[in-house]
């Protein structure tokens, strides 16, 4: 049990608990400047302008050969003349051993044609089987500014600096992140982001999305802390969008993931 616990501590340190949906994980970013249902995980201001309700499910296997997994459920719906509402429930851990659950409710609003803003309230629960359970709350603020070909985004996560109780070695990340998305052409999007958790160095990431076919998008990118390459694809099948992605760490191997979204 102790060995398992140490493994959990190590792996939590190694890969941030925040779940990054396949759409963004495939280009190494968080989607800070993007829009759509998956921005609930990165910058919820991105659901301000959705047109129809959407539901999505995501799953990630952290480094092949380990049991560490993430699962996520997303739901977003528009509010007429206001913006959007969002719900995100994500779990990170080893089944039947440990779990870190984050449930977030988002209210997102647009202002004019260029500004989006959001407030999210999150409930966190950290559980280690036969050891401890701890709960906490946090809040996130998101912001986006839209130009014709460029979108800029900023998010401040855990603005109050909430933590779990003192006995728990796990922290709730406080993070500030900035992102830019550039539409180079109808087929190509370029993403670049930087983020900082006030504890370690600045994390950089950059990626590309290339629409190779009207139903298929290929993505790739790289990020620091740790340095990883990312690659993936998105496929549109009727009202479903399937995104697959994987990160590639030189020593730990790959972390594949899958997400499916449905637009009502």
């Amino acid at each position: 049990m102790i060995r398992l616990f140490i493994l959990v501590i190590i792996t939590f340190e190694l890969s941030a608990q925040e779940y990054v949906p396949a759409k963004y994980a495939s280009s190494g970013s968080q989607g800070i400047a993007d829009s759509g249902i998956y921005t609930l995980a990165g910058n919820p201001a991105g659901v301000s302008r959705i047109n129809r309700p959407q539901l999505a499910l995501g799953y990630q296997q952290h480094f092949l050969g380990t049991d560490i997994q993430s699962q996520a459920l997303f739901f977003a719906m528009p509010i007429k003349a206001q913006g959007g509402l969002g719900l995100l429930i994500e779990n990170y851990g080893i089944p039947e051993v440990t779990s870190l659950i984050k449930s977030g409710f988002t209210f997102s609003k647009y202002f004019g044609k260029q500004i989006n803003a959001s407030l999210s309230i999150n409930y966190h629960q950290y559980h280690v089987e036969s050891y401890t359970t701890s709960k906490s709350w946090s809040a996130d603020l998101g912001f986006q500014y839209l130009f014709e070909k460029v979108q800029l985004g900023a998010v401040f996560k855990n603005i109050s600096g909430s933590t779990f109780s003192n006995e728990i070695p796990e922290a709730i990340d406080q993070e500030i992140a900035f992102g830019a998305l550039y539409y180079l052409s109808d087929e190509i999007q370029v993403l670049a982001e930087l983020s900082n958790d006030f504890d370690s160095s600045i994390k950089y990431s950059a990626g590309l999305a290339y629409k190779i076919h009207k139903q298929i998008i290929l993505r790739g990118g790289a990020s620091s802390l740790p340095v990883e390459f990312h690659a993936g694809a998105g496929i549109l099948v009727k009202k479903f969008i399937v995104d697959v992605a994987s990160s590639f760490h030189t020593q730990l191997g790959s972390s594949p993931q899958l997400a499916i979204a449905y637009e009502f």
């Binding site: 590309l208 790739g220 030189t250």
Partner: protein, 681 residues
Amino acid sequence: MNFKLCIGLLIFFSLFGNCVLAQQEEALEEEIIEQLLSEIEEEIDLSEFTERLRYFLRHPIDLNKTNEEELGSLLFLLPNQIANLLDYRASSGNFISVLELQSVDGFDLQTVRKMMPFVTVKADAGLNLPSSGLGKSTEHDLMVRYGRIIESQAGYHIEDTTRSRYLGSPDRYSLRYRMNYKSKIQLAINAEKDAGEPFFGELQPYGFDYYSMSLQIKDLGKWNKVVVGDYALQFGQGLVLWNGLSFGKGAWLGSATKQASGLKAYTSMNEFNFLRGLSGTLKLHNFEITPFISYNFLTGNIEEVDGQEIVSSISSSGLHRTPSELENKNSVNQLVFGTDITYRKKQLKLGFTAINTQYSHLISKGDELRNEFSFEGKQLLNLGLNYQYSFKNTYFYGETAHSWGSGFASLNGLLTSLHPNLSVSIQHRYYEKNYHSIFAQAIGENSDVSNEHGIYAGFLYKILRKIEWVNYLDVYRFPWLSYLLDSPGSGLDYLSQMTYTWYKKGRLILRYRHRLDQENTSLDERNELISADLTRNQGRADFQYELNDSWKIGSRFEAVNYQKEFEQREYGWMCYQDLFWTSSQKWITANMRIAYFDTDSYNARIYAYESDVLYASSFPVYYMQGWRTYFNTKIKITRKLDFWFRYSLTKYNDLEEVGSGLDLIAGNKKSDFRIQFKYQW
């Protein structure tokens, strides 16, 4: 631009281009070399590349006859650009003008401008006239160079015959002769004496220490090309066979994608990594078959172990100055034979290479643990399969190789233009720790192609017509122990470079490079070596501007910081100012540099390309504190005779001795000069 104007421009460039372009030529050489290389051995000869560029300047490539290998050897065209050009010619017919290149996908104005001096479109290819002029069928070039370090070095003054010492004089001599008959028959002869090597006399009765000769004949019946003497072979991605110069990752997107040139005559002064014997390329329908055989003498250190003579190391320096270097000269015989079979159909190229190498002595891998999986034996067979295929704007390539009885190596990648302004390169390499090769040179951190897995990704983005931004990230690991690292290791290499270009006037380059590696270190409280992270950050600003037809300036500032974990951070910086001058009639050109450098140590060293006499390369390392200056000039004495002179001086602050060992100089100065004549008829 109408058609007549295009033709007019073309005629103007072809008539008057050569003299005007001489300076641009040097600038382009420098640009390409600095894009492809960041660090290189000081004495390496890059003439294999520069001589080829100069050759194309005098004998421009005919766009209607050229092939992939020839265009690839220009070294500034991306493979997918070459594929697009050949595809354009196949689908649209022969080129009417060089300017038509602008209609080819992926060729912007800057690329076309770069190509202009090297390419042509012959009005009637059927006449097949030599491009250098009517009535002149054979060209001869003879070049003689002399140089030496002016200060006295310790190795020349040792009287004690039991000690290592230089047996020859500090003078350097080299001789080059080239004969070219209608570009069909080419003869090349090189001879060189390095500093410290004996010249004639008892120790070197044949005069020069190194001789090289090659005779290349083209279009000999079904044989595309035959080379007798010294030759180089380059196939696939270099996992099996890549003789001559090999460039690694650089600030050019195409640098990670090797463009093999097959068989060519070896004309370099580098005294290692070439083949000596006979080879030819036979063309049969869609197949090109290149059999080869070579027998060469190498410089090896031979030891006797258990009554058997073994080779503990083979030297690649080509230096035979001391008693032991001379004793080791020609001590190991190497027999190489094999073949390459290449199949081409439209955009597809498939190749198979087999090479067998046999030595007269057993090559030992040594006792160190890091060499546990290295090659040991007298014979090695390598087999390789390579491919390339272009589809629309994407170029796929790769090679997989096997060393018989041991491991595999594989490299695969793609280079694609997603948009006229955006190109992307992705590559994966996987070299097993027990893959053995003698002539492999491929992308990687280690010089031998083994014990390395890595992913490389880069992109080139033309932000505006004048601004280019290149980035690459290479992440790799070594599954087994490596040099100076007694454990498996990993690392990364990131480069970002932005270039602003003033059309035909100048450029500003900003470059940042970050490298992370690992190396052994010892700590007081630990008894064993542990691995420490080694970080190196490098920033550069480089500016060049042509003030008028006669004057050009260049400036650079570069700074480095180096840190080994558990040790203090070390810094280094360097700045220089260059001045280039050309006389109004172009008979005299001259340039000079004055540089100041200040680095904490050799670890924080800085490399910078220096202008040199024709076909000589200077890529010195700047470290410690002090000044460096050089003056380089070329005088066109007559139409047939050129003269070069170069003098360089490094003066160190607060230093009483320069260099070490046999190269030690008393005092704080080191200066060097060289003179060179070239006669063509």
